[in-house]
Symmetry: C2
Subunit: 348 residues, 2 copies
Amino acid sequence: MQLKLAMIGFGVVGQGVAKILRDRQAHLKERYGAEFVITAVSDVKKGAVADPNGLDPKALLDHLDNHPDLTTFPAPERGWDALTTIRKANADVVVEVSWTDVKTGGAALGHLREAFACGKHVVTTNKGPMVVAPWEMLEAAARAGVEFRFEGTVMSGTPVINTAWKCLRGCEITGFSGILNGTTNFMLTRMEQGLTYQQALAEAQSLGYAEADPSGDVLGWDAAGKVVILTNTVLRKPLKLAEVQLASGITEITPAHIEEAKKTGERWKLVAQANVEDGTVKASVLAQRVPLSDPLAGVMGPTNAVTFHTDLLGPVTIVGAGAGQRETAFAVISDLLDIHATLLARQG
Amino acid sequence: MQLKLAMIGFGVVGQGVAKILRDRQAHLKERYGAEFVITAVSDVKKGAVADPNGLDPKALLDHLDNHPDLTTFPAPERGWDALTTIRKANADVVVEVSWTDVKTGGAALGHLREAFACGKHVVTTNKGPMVVAPWEMLEAAARAGVEFRFEGTVMSGTPVINTAWKCLRGCEITGFSGILNGTTNFMLTRMEQGLTYQQALAEAQSLGYAEADPSGDVLGWDAAGKVVILTNTVLRKPLKLAEVQLASGITEITPAHIEEAKKTGERWKLVAQANVEDGTVKASVLAQRVPLSDPLAGVMGPTNAVTFHTDLLGPVTIVGAGAGQRETAFAVISDLLDIHATLLARQG
């Protein structure tokens, strides 16, 4: 089956999706019978082009290798903003991979609203709408009768949300605890290897893990956003960002703390968790000493992990990449293939 | 949607399934719209009963609490053997949870063949047919146009096969390494805590982890069977049990070995793995020293884990229960819910 895509955002993740489509189209068609055709791209910085017959992903990427944006890329339509693209492109699926704002939801909130209003399926890796208005989004998709996937909002393409939804059906997930921020886990790993907090931060920044203003990572806000997404969509309990208990993140961890933990067979981790007790949610992102016997203790460097606590199966832990262009772009491909399989089954 | 089940086998796993249905029928109906009705049970030891209108799981379990078998359980049909049950019961799904024989496939091989020939969907936790004839089974299901699930054959209900099939679509899984036998991992954990091999084995036997003849576990044959299943179904490469490289399992690990590994920041694990190199599979179950930074090193006690090596996403590790009545019965429920969702989507 062919699915036409409108890409809202063509930055790191959007171009990552284009790279996979450039390199794997034949494989995806042969293995899954899926053909994904980009018919529109709209990006606030790179510009916008659309072609109802499809834009060649290789040509788009080659153009951006040699030009700052898409304004000179040959296409029958150009200059459509995001909302126009969602309305006018002949797309089956809107792929929302624009800039993330977890405080307001950002422009992405409007993109998803418009996509659902237009009856388009949606795949997003954008945390903004799913932190700010997860229930509105889920309900809008259900009302519109369209498919909606957002695996890439937590732990990039590592299958966390889809595993909980599809492969843990039948047991009750009563809570989770995880390492949901790669930057801080990398820093803690390096501090355990002897670096100070400032040295570890500088290294994380030089490797591109941490931004110039690292507060979203080191204070725990980034992880808290992911706690909100998992709580609302996997635990199915309403939770707002302001309700996640935060302290100082990892900013007060010293080499002395780390040495002390080592002595008792423990390791400092920034643990993001939520649990349902008597129907109410308690959620937090706190630096904690985790015993080495806990699967989370062995998660080192920028890797992420989440342990789902279930009633019938006990704890189930998934460990994998938490970020990365290719890894997050894979989340989009994986979600597109899942929508493709769902639509195919529906055709009978 | 209602799905009628014929249970082939009503031992530990079969009764575990009945327990979940007894306790969760209302929940499964409310959450997923799924109603599972047992219309036949056939077990070589417990006897066989069938009722086209449904057998109450609570009544079946209560009866077995007070009687050695089902011969006096009131039902319109009784005494059908497995093949007769598959042919004559008004079931949509055959749940094959009979006795496992990984050398010949056992009677289960015939049960699955008959179920596919009769056009029944199949859920099984039985390693036998999937070790001995995985491609025959997959192809028979495809030819019959029926759904076939076997999550419970590896790591009980911990979602491994379904995660690979459904949530890692789009990337190439080039290999895996795992801890696929809980008994040996429990023994290694206890040996690390100071027990000798013989003491650890005795404890594993007293806890019911190891059988009186523990050779299937300690020599690696059990794990090798799971390697065969994952290689054929997830890596999609043909591999026979005899082709898995085995040595002495964990039988030659001594406290001295364990101490030596500790000194270099390593830990002995019975690592089950397979990798595709230049199109050919290399598979083994060997005791190995694993660095503590490897996610598999932190997997302690009877817990199991598998790391899938993927091209787009890097390593993805899933850690969870490897055995247990409730955990394996959950695999059946989870697979039934997946079949239910697939059939529902197909109805449109």
